[in-house]
Point group: C2
Chain length 192, copies 2
């Protein structure tokens, strides 16, 4: 096993304490011991899993993709992003994705394809971001947002989104992560 | 201006306090006021900027890319990643990238191309990840690692890295972010 080959690089956890419960994550200080027996404190975030979806809609102008626009408190700016959210305790990631898509946009997806999964940042996160593509979209209702949540949605040309990602308000890196999986999926199996 | 068009979505910061100084980031509780005058606390991480590089080396077998292997405390696992690091105060991102590449691998790059920049996670991060491609690589020395840092490096086929990203120990999402920029760069301007 690959993991066993890397055993000599592994650290052991000796102890951990929660420094702060920040609702969207817990800040943890973990006492870790390196392979030579030396101990140091390392900080990490204990967070629930996340889901992100690239919802594709056919149109006469070409493929469009459903995106949301909202104020983000980390960047202190309005960003354009793919629909995304947090997996509730006990919820399956795919169910969370359907739920978040419906809540943020009022759309359902007849097809939800898992493109991949990653740790958002292995240096200090302990959770998984699941990335989906959605097709066969239908508008079935209005939005159902949390208190203090204001989200607008719009259909943008996929070609425009590909070009703009990482520029202006297309500034959330986790969306480029999703596009990376999407580009590989498209190029690996031809036009889908 | 696009920003002005979105003014009605903007929140104001009323106050902020640092909950924890975790070395690689500070945990901040920010009191924010929504466009309707309602106030809530939002948690965010105040972090330095990051840099990531995809270093390309020509070989008889095809293009290879220089990657590092190390234990990561967030995922509690050994991961394979592109060389990456943190921008020091007052340092230019490109200088930080050259420094980190040299420290982690002992290689210098004759050419460093900025592929793009994003906020790693606009929901709660306030920093920027700069993504580069590097060419004209030369091995000039050994590694120069921080205390408790153990990093191995290896040359892997670019085609293999593209295929494996998001699988097994290629599990750090910020590396797929970098690959997303890289794939777009390659496809936009043909073979470079």
């Amino acid at each position: 096993m690959e993991e066993n080959k890397n055993e000599y690089l592994h650290w052991k956890e000796i102890d951990r304490k929660i420094l702060a419960d920040c609702h969207i994550f817990k800040v943890v200080s973990a006492l870790r011991e390196d392979p030579y027996g030396s101990r140091v404190d390392r900080f990490l975030l204990d967070a629930p899993d996340w889901v992100t979806v690239i919802p594709i809609v056919e149109s006469d102008e070409g493929e469009k993709c459903l995106m949301v626009k909202q104020y983000r408190h980390g960047s202190s700016s309005v960003t354009r992003e793919f629909p995304a959210g947090t997996v509730d305790p006990g919820e399956k990631p795919e169910d969370a994705m359907h739920r978040e898509l419906l809540e943020e946009t009022g759309y359902t997806a007849g097809e939800m394809v898992l493109l991949g999964a990653v740790n958002p940042n292995s240096a200090f996160m302990n959770n998984t971001q699941y990335i989906y593509a959605a097709r066969d979209l239908k508008k079935v209702g209005g939005q159902d947002l949390d208190e203090h949540e204001e989200v607008e949605f719009e259909l943008l040309l996929l070609s425009e989104v590909l070009e703009k990602m990482g520029r202006g308000d297309f500034s959330n890196g986790t969306m480029m992560t999703a596009l990376g999986f999407f580009m590989r999926w498209r190029s690996a199996d031809g036009e889908k």
